[in-house]
Amino acid sequence: MFIINCPYCGEREQSEFKAGGEAHIVRPKQPTELSDDQWAEYLFMRKNIKGIQFERWVHSHGCRKWFNVVRDTSNDVIKAVYKMGEKPPTKK
């Protein structure tokens, strides 16, 4: 069970959050322009990284805000959190 530092509410138990998968997958502005392959890429294909992953979480049982987390998926250590729209921190 992680402790996640919600950028708005501070450190809380993992139980208060839900994970939202890989971050920075921007919904295409003009989906109709995309080929089936390109759309599938957006819809289903994932890096599914073993190591440092940028991902989305939501404080669903708290402030209900979405934000980003940098986590090492090989040992679940959280390196950083940052708000939606903010630049991801450069890897340390």
């Binding site: 402790i3 939202g20 295409p28 109709t32 759309w39 819809l43 939606m84």
Partner: protein
């Protein structure tokens, strides 16, 4: 008549408090402070159980949670029975009843014992090699294998006890209240750390607290008395919480730990009622100090498993702490000094020691000198090669070890005994450390694994960190603490410590024997009967990895999780395979450290608290009026209202008819309601629904369909425009939470530029839905000052109004196809509104109806229910709802997916109506649909999603999805049931009132 081996009193035993208990039906006595083990030993009982595979007689081997052999069933055949309880852990209480397990008819004469003679053909993994012929027979073989396996018996009655959880947040958690833990607790708490100290035993002080020897002194006091003073001091410290009978089961990442606090297991049964039996502590600690001590190692030699063979440290503890002698003719067998501590304390208590067998040649520590001074015979450089005595050890055979320790030489000597203490040195209890993700390193000089890399803010101290001797602990631990707690000094600087312990040790994992190994039974895992030769066999058969050997031989898979034998297994593997211990790695220690009761993990989340029970504001009325309820998510919804003994079918027929003929009333409060405000509200709806919203006039309602990004139908409901920038959206009952979550997600992550706010108001409103030709008459009496004329209040529109002084919203929308209204009023007035409707509706035979009737009525109209008529594979086009998919809109959630090569196919499954040849034949929901029954393999075109007998149409109706169904109108299809075939015709899904006349009736 059994002997009494209770020796001179121990201050931990209250001899004024006699306790009687039963073991295998016979009554015995012990004292307050005894464990079941110490009480049995005091009565000279060693034989307690039978082993798992060979059913060999087994006795008490240890004095703690590492016990592999002496496990019993408590209170057999009662609701409080419990299998596999370690006699070394359970404190005795009046009325305790324990019985041996895994033996029949009795522990003294066990038929299963025959396995011991069959053992030559039952080597490790034998079952992989046989029981294969004839093929069909495995189930029969398996029946017997299962019967002979399995140790104790599962309870067969519900548990009368209560369990609870408690979340604990502390600065520092200290695991283990031995001397190191006590020192740490005092130091940390005095320096302002909010500290929790947990100890699995009922007393504090670990093994030092009964160390009464002159050989171990601190500041010139015997170590136990010194420690006692320390303990009395820490009990006074404010920000230190001490919990005994509390064992840490799991050490997870982020310093999250689970501990079981045992509250009633030591009390007489009659004192337990209504009390919490065990409490699961869910601990979040900023820092953790592990001081879990170490476990003494056994020695591995032929027949090292007989009753009467104990760890030397256990004999020491039984004598000093419980005042019990384990035997009258004791022999000790050791490879290090600690057996001599035992010897000295036995000697001081006048317990006879026949001899000490030490596999070391040159030894001359103070302890040994004292033993020799008291002319107790020591066989130096010797080993035990065999033992005898079936149900209790009576002899050991010893021989001299060769210089390299690989063989035995010379002649065999036999010594008589009734108790053998063995000591193979000590293994740090690093289980919790490794659970937390810590990495170990191997220390060659004394062949132990010790903590190396810490994954979180934690430290290990004392013997679990490889600091075994008193002087080591008192010099190293304070320094470690200062660094870890970053403080200047402790109360333990320059103490004067006297410790006569010499660390020399001759470690031989598998002691040599004069027999070929194939003839020996040198047990490594006592409970599972895994022997050294089994391990060697596994290696011979190519099982190299420690995990393979463990799984093939079942070493370390017992209820003790190999606390005693795992190190020897590793040692034997590395010796045999010629690999280095350090490189071999350890087997992973998995949680829990000691078995954890299911009830404790679950806590109060049982019975009525298993899951949340959501009620509508009108719930009590439904109960008073005998509604049958349906679970919809966590909600309880009225399913139907049986009257004077009606069954469901009759009730639903009556309700449906009434709703269409006159008036029906439904509690729709469970539908999700989301308040949507902001200048971009309309644009937002355009993006989340398939249809267009900008042009919806204020005061109007519209049905909307929501898709997943993959184009499949996700949710639906009616949304009303309350103002220029204000809407209220309704969702399905089950979808409420997920829809709001999904919308927030898009709003916050994809479209942050939109000025839109979403607020759930599901619970704020009670929703009373009244339908039928007389609905208008009823609502207009409830809200007299509102104009209900079709002109001013047409279908799909809404009005704000008041009932008395109470604000309410009235929507004219219909899920039944009838003329109907929805009154939304603040929840606390909902029941009252409902009762008014019933009151006024009396003259129109207003009939409350439940979800079943609602489903029937909407099916007559061909309205879908998301989740029943759809699964995750239906697009709006498949549902023949093309009309709701805006062609003009550039984009909406899921739009792109509708135009993929397989989603535009014409032959997808599509929603259709189904009419049975026989109008009274009601199809089974879920039944499959085919065109050609003889085709093979048979081709299933789809299935029946909804099916009812319609009292209004006087025939059976059904909805279903059929491949290419759109273009099959009028076509005949077959529903192949188990016992018959049903002929159906594909029809328009709208069965009733295609022109929607009734909406304005």
């Amino acid at each position: 008549m059994t002997k009494n081996l209770r020796i001179k009193t121990s201050k931990f035993i209250d001899e004024t408090y006699k306790i009687s208990f039963k073991f295998n039906g016979k009554t015995y006595f012990g004292y307050k402070g005894d464990t079941l083990a110490s009480a049995l030993l005091a009565n000279d009982i060693h034989l307690v159980g039978r082993s798992f595979k060979y059913h060999r007689p087994r006795g008490i081997m240890t004095a703690g949670s590492e016990e592999p052999n002496a496990i019993v069933q408590l209170h057999n055949n009662t609701s409080r029975t419990e299998p596999n309880v370690r006699v070394t852990e359970i404190e005795i209480y009046d009325g305790l009843e324990a019985s041996s397990q895994n033996c029949w008819p009795s522990v003294n004469f066990d038929m299963g014992g025959i396995n011991n003679f069959l053992s030559p053909v039952l080597p490790a993994g034998f079952y992989y090699k046989t029981f294969m012929w004839p093929a069909s027979f495995w189930e029969k073989y398996e029946y017997f294998i299962r019967k002979s396996a399995g140790l104790g018996k599962s309870p067969m009655e519900p548990d009368p006890d209560i369990y609870e959880h408690r979340y604990v947040h502390c600065d520092l958690l200290i695991i283990g209240a031995g001397i190191s833990g006590i020192i740490a607790a005092k130091t940390a708490a005095k320096n302002g750390y909010k500290t929790l100290l947990v100890e699995e035993k009922s007393y504090l002080g670990g093994s030092t607290i009964y160390q009464n020897s002159e050989h171990f002194k601190i500041n010139n006091q015997i170590s136990s008395s010194w420690l006692e003073k320390e303990i009395n001091e820490i009990k006074k410290i404010k920000n230190l919480e001490i919990k005994t009978r509390t064992s840490v089961a799991a050490f997870h990442g982020y310093n999250f730990l689970l501990a079981r606090e045992n509250l009633t297991d030591h009390l007489p049964l009659e004192q337990r009622n209504k009390k919490t039996r065990q409490r699961l502590l869910k601990i979040r600690a900023k820092k953790v100090i592990t001081a879990t001590g170490s476990l003494e190692r056994p020695l591995i030699f032929d027949n090292n498993d007989r009753p009467g063979i104990l760890l030397s440290s256990a004999i020491h503890k039984y004598a000093n702490l419980f005042g019990v002698a384990c035997g009258e003719k004791n022999i000790l067998f050791t490879n290090n000094d600690s057996a001599y501590e035992t010897a000295i304390s036995l000697y001081q208590k006048g317990i006879n020691i026949e001899a000490i067998i030490d596999n070391r040649e040159e030894i001359d520590s103070k302890l040994i000198k004292e033993i020799e001074k008291n002319n107790i015979k020591i066989f130096k450089g010797y080993t035990i090669v065999d033992t005898s005595g079936y149900k209790r050890i009576n002899k050991v055979s010893i021989m001299q070890l060769s210089k390299d320790g690989q063989k035995v030489v010379g002649s065999k000597t036999t010594l008589n005994c009734d108790c053998l203490g063995i000591s193979g040195g000590w293994t740090p209890a690093v289980h919790l450390f490794t659970q937390s993700g810590g990495k170990l390193k191997f220390r060659d000089e004394d062949q132990v694994f010790i903590p190396n890399i810490y994954p979180s803010d934690q430290i290990s101290i004392g013997s679990c960190n490889g600091e075994f001797t008193l002087d080591e602990i008192l010099s190293v631990v304070p320094t470690t603490l200062k660094k870890f707690l970053n403080i200047k000094e402790t109360d333990y600087e320059n103490l004067e410590v006297q410790s006569s312990f010499n660390k020399s040790k001759r470690n031989i994992w598998l002691l040599p024997s004069d027999k070929v190994i194939g003839k020996t039974k040198s047990f490594v895992d006592y409970q599972n009967d895994a022997t050294a030769k089994d391990i060697k066999l596994a290696l011979r058969e190519g099982f190299r990895s420690i995990e393979h050997v463990k799984r093939y031989t079942t070493t370390g898979m017992g209820t003790d999780q190999g606390k005693l034998g795992n190190m020897h297994a590793l040692g034997i593997i590395s010796e045999t395979a010629g690999s280095k211990m350090g490189e071999l790695g350890t087997t992973t220690f998995r949680p829990p450290y000691t078995p954890l009761t299911f009830g404790t993990i679950v806590g109060r989340n049982v019975g009525e608290y298993f899951d949340i029970f959501r009620k509508t504001p009108i719930h009590d009325w439904h109960v008073e009026n005998k509604a049958e309820f349906e679970n919809v998510g966590q909600w309880k919804r009225p399913w139907y209202y049986p009257q004077n003994g009606e069954n469901m079918h009759d009730a639903v027929q009556r309700e449906s008819k009434a709703a269409r003929d006159s008036a029906g009333i439904l509690d729709a409060s469970t539908l999700g309601k989301i308040d949507i405000q902001g200048t971009d509200a309309s644009e937002f709806l355009n993006r989340v629904y398939t249809n267009a919203w900008s042009k919806l006039a204020i005061g109007k309602c519209r049905y909307g369909l929501m898709l997943n990004e993959d184009g499949m139908v996700y949710d639906d409901g009616v949304t009303t425009r309350l103002g220029e920038n204000h809407y209220i959206m309704t969702t399905t009952t089950g979808g409420a939470a997920t829809v709001l979550g999904k919308l927030e997600d898009y709003l916050q992550t994809e479209w942050p530029e939109l000025d839109v706010y979403l607020t759930s108001v599901t619970d704020h409103y009670a929703t009373v839905s009244i339908c039928g030709p007389n609905s208008k008459k009823i609502v207009s009496q409830i809200i007299p000052d509102l104009d209900f004329s079709d002109e001013s209040f047409p279908h799909m529109s809404f009005k704000n109004s008041k009932i008395g002084k109470i604000k309410c919203r009235v929507m004219r929308i219909s899920f039944t196809g009838e003329h109907s209204y929805e009154i939304n009023v603040q929840a606390n007035y909902g029941k009252s509104v409902w009762e008014r409707c019933m009151e006024i509706g009396k003259e129109f035979n207003i009939t409350p109806y439940g979800t079943e009737t609602m489903h029937l009525l909407r099916a007559e109209k061909g309205f879908i229910i998301v989740g029943q008529d759809t699964d995750a594979t239906m697009t709006p086009i498949d549902l023949q709802m093309d009309w709701i998919v805006s062609k003009k809109k550039y984009d909406f959630i899921g739009k792109r997916s509708l135009y993929r090569s397989d989603t535009i196919r014409e032959d997808r499954k599509q929603l259709v109506g189904l009419i049975t040849e026989n109008p009274n034949e009601v199809l089974e929901e879920g039944a499959q649909i085919v065109a050609d029954i003889n085709k093979s393999p048979i081709e299933m075109l789809g299935h029946v999603t909804s099916s009812y007998y319609s009292p209004n149409l006087k025939k059976s109706i059904a909805l279903g999805v059929v491949r290419g169904g759109k273009n099959m109108m009028g076509q005949k299809l077959i529903i192949p049931m188990k016992d018959k075939q049903i002929n159906v015709t594909v029809a328009d899904p709208v069965f009733l009132d295609k022109e929607n006349k009734r909406l304005n009736a």
